[in-house]
């Protein structure tokens, strides 16, 4: 990764303001629009009655108990995935790294599939997903381990291998439980469908803990970009930094994936967009990625629930794929 100078010239302060405005706009649109048409005045009234804990009337339930938590969940998940993506890319100094690299996604998908096929209650699906996700990360790390070190290439390869094996297991399970194939498919494509306030409150600690830790590590991640040897000579405990960053990112990712399924490309694309506009420093990159990622996922989910694209993961992949190709071409020309 070359050190792209902040040549784009966009000031970080202005950028923060713009991105915060973008996130706010996405939240407003996401709350105001949906498959049921509700006039803006009524939406505002519903929000007011929700905030002040008054009795909900008419369409209030739709705005306050269905749309708003869904939008908040989208923002939370988008932010988590993007911060984790940025951190993974920094930790492994690999522009292709993303939250799914370490098999977290495949692990979660397998856990969810087991829970769905076994017919466990909905509340247990994310728990099962989270457990398998953590087991998957542990597998990847122990496969990649060389003494006390985790060489980046070994780690990526191990992640791919673990991911493939878990995906195979998931597929086998899907084919056994044919009636539930749709449900599993929805999960593996990412879906914010039934996200309520309770789900938001469950994901929040994972996101806060994971992303918070990564933000604290931002300065150390910057130093790591100078190269492992340099970082080590500057007193950065490289291996420990890697391990902590990976665990923190896995925690946030698993929390997000467990509740809404596998939403691709957000964690890969968003940090690249921020890096292009504001440069590679992690103290800027991570928080701004959170803002943009949140806005992007809320927008993608709005498209998913109002168009036949139907799944948020389909929208992000459709938007993210071409962007990523453009990015690859651009990097080569630069």
């Amino acid at each position: 990764m070359q050190a792209a100078a902040p040549r784009r010239g966009l000031g970080v302060g202005l950028g923060t303001l713009l991105l915060a405005a973008l996130l706010l706009a996405a939240v407003v649109l996401g709350t105001g629009l949906g498959s049921v048409t509700i006039p803006p005045g009524e939406v505002l009234g519903a929000l007011w009655r929700g905030v002040t804990r008054q009795a909900l009337e008419g369409n209030d339930v739709i705005v306050w108990q269905i749309r708003l938590p869904r939008v908040v969940m989208g923002a939370l998940v988008g932010a988590s995935l993007s911060v984790c993506g940025g951190a993974f890319q920094g930790v492994f100094r690999n522009p292709l790294a993303d939250p799914y690299l370490l098999g977290v996604a495949s692990g979660s998908a397998l856990g969810a599939t087991v829970a769905i096929v076994a017919g466990w209650p909905r509340a247990l699906i994310p728990v099962s997903a989270l457990l398998t996700a953590l087991v998957a990360v542990a597998c990847t790390l122990s496969l990649a381990r060389e003494g006390r070190r985790f060489p980046p290439t070994r780690l990526i390869l191990a992640g791919v291998v673990v991911g493939s094996v878990l995906s195979a297991a998931t597929t086998a399970l899907i084919l056994r439980g044919e009636d539930r194939a749709r449900q599993v498919l929805a999960y593996t494509l990412g879906d914010l469908g039934f996200s309520g306030w309770r789900d938001v409150l469950t994901v929040l600690p994972y996101a806060a803990l994971g992303c918070g830790a990564l933000l604290l590590l931002a300065r150390a991640l910057d130093t790591l970009q100078l190269g492992e040897l340099t970082a080590r000579s500057l007193g950065v405990p490289v291996e420990r930094l890697r391990l902590i960053a990976v665990i923190a990112a896995s925690l946030a990712t698993a929390g997000a994936v467990a509740y809404v399924g596998v939403i691709g490309f957000v964690g890969l694309i968003v940090p690249h967009m921020i890096r292009l506009a504001f440069g590679p420093g992690h103290r800027t990159l991570l928080p701004l990625s959170a803002l943009l990622g949140g806005a992007l996922l809320v927008g993608a989910d709005l498209l998913a629930r109002t168009t036949p694209l139907s799944q948020v993961g389909i929208v992000t992949t459709l938007l993210g794929g071409p962007f990523f190709l453009w990015l690859l071409r651009k990097e080569r020309h630069d």
Partner: protein, 289 residues
């Protein structure tokens, strides 16, 4: 009522007495393939549970030599060799059973490899309500049981009429949301299950414009505020954000579908009348006291 039915059955039997399928028979199947059956099939494999039921209802259960993994009715077919499911068909096992015909659905890509192995394959794929009858007649023709097929159709229609007489005049027809999958997916009024839901005396909240098996946005269901919810248990429905205020939940009208009824509802076959009866009893228990 009984007298009329007997009459229908009798007239069916008389008019059908002369009709026998003449072989070789050329038909265009549901994959659009022209298939020639040289003689009356004596060894039949069915890879669709509803087709297995229809073949048996035509009195040809003892001609079945193999069925798919999911065929389980009537009980007799459970003893037959299993030849796999939609995603894992056991083509070798099918060929080894030396069938005169394999009855497939339009899914699963069985036609080509089996035809190449010299096995006659016919796709018969009932999906809509009306196709249950037309495909039963088609199977009757293919298997030289046209009279029986006509009688079977008359019997199913009689079963349905008996339920409809009751539900047609129900005083209150509840608006209903029928969930077939907790993603959630529901059923449109033109789908096979949707037609049964309407005939059972409910008003489906899903408009035809949403398609036959649409993925539904949860806020749409809350807005539609159905008086009856089928296919979910009350606890699950109550735990969903914003659902506790839906009329059906307030009135305690949330009912899961019993497994056997669910199986029947998923099979466009000869137990259509029974499926409708079961559904009508769930929706209008007061009519069946």
């Amino acid at each position: 009522m009984k007298g009329i039915l007997t009459l229908i059955t009798l007239s069916g039997a008389l008019s059908g007495a002369a009709a026998a399928t003449s072989y070789p028979l050329t038909i265009t199947d549901d994959l659009g393939r022209k298939v020639i059956l040289k003689t009356e099939p004596k060894r039949i494999i069915s890879v669709l549970p509803s087709t297995s039921e229809t073949v048996c209802a035509l009195g040809l259960c003892d001609r079945l030599v193999g069925v798919d993994d999911y065929s389980d009715y009537p009980q007799q077919v459970t003893k037959l060799p299993k030849v796999g499911g939609l995603y894992n068909p056991n083509i070798e096992a099918m060929v080894a059973l030396k069938p005169d015909v394999v009855l497939v659905s339009q899914y699963g890509k069985l036609a080509e490899p089996l035809t190449q192995a010299g096995v006659t394959v016919i796709a018969v794929n009932p999906e809509t309500y009306d196709e249950v009858f037309s495909k039963t007649l088609l199977l009757g023709k293919i298997l030289n049981r046209e009279t029986q097929a006509r009688n079977l159709v008359a019997k199913i229609k009689g079963d349905i009429a008996r339920v409809e007489i009751l539900t047609k005049n129900a005083v209150r027809k509840p608006t209903a949301y029928f969930e077939i999958d907790p993603t959630p997916y529901s059923i449109g009024p033109n789908s096979f299950m949707g037609v049964l839901l309407t005939k059972a005396g409910a008003r489906n909240i899903i408009p035809a414009s949403m398609g036959d098996f649409p993925k539904v946005d949860p806020e749409f269901i809350v807005k539609a505020n159905p008086q009856l919810i089928l296919g979910v248990d009350a606890k699950t429905a109550g735990a969903r954000p914003g659902w506790s205020g839906i009329s059906a939940l307030k009135a305690g009208k949330v009912k899961d579908i019993p497994t056997e009824l669910n199986t029947m509802l998923g099979r466009p076959g000869p137990r259509l009348g029974q499926a409708l009866m079961g559904l009508a009893k769930l929706i209008h228990p007061e009519l069946f006291r």
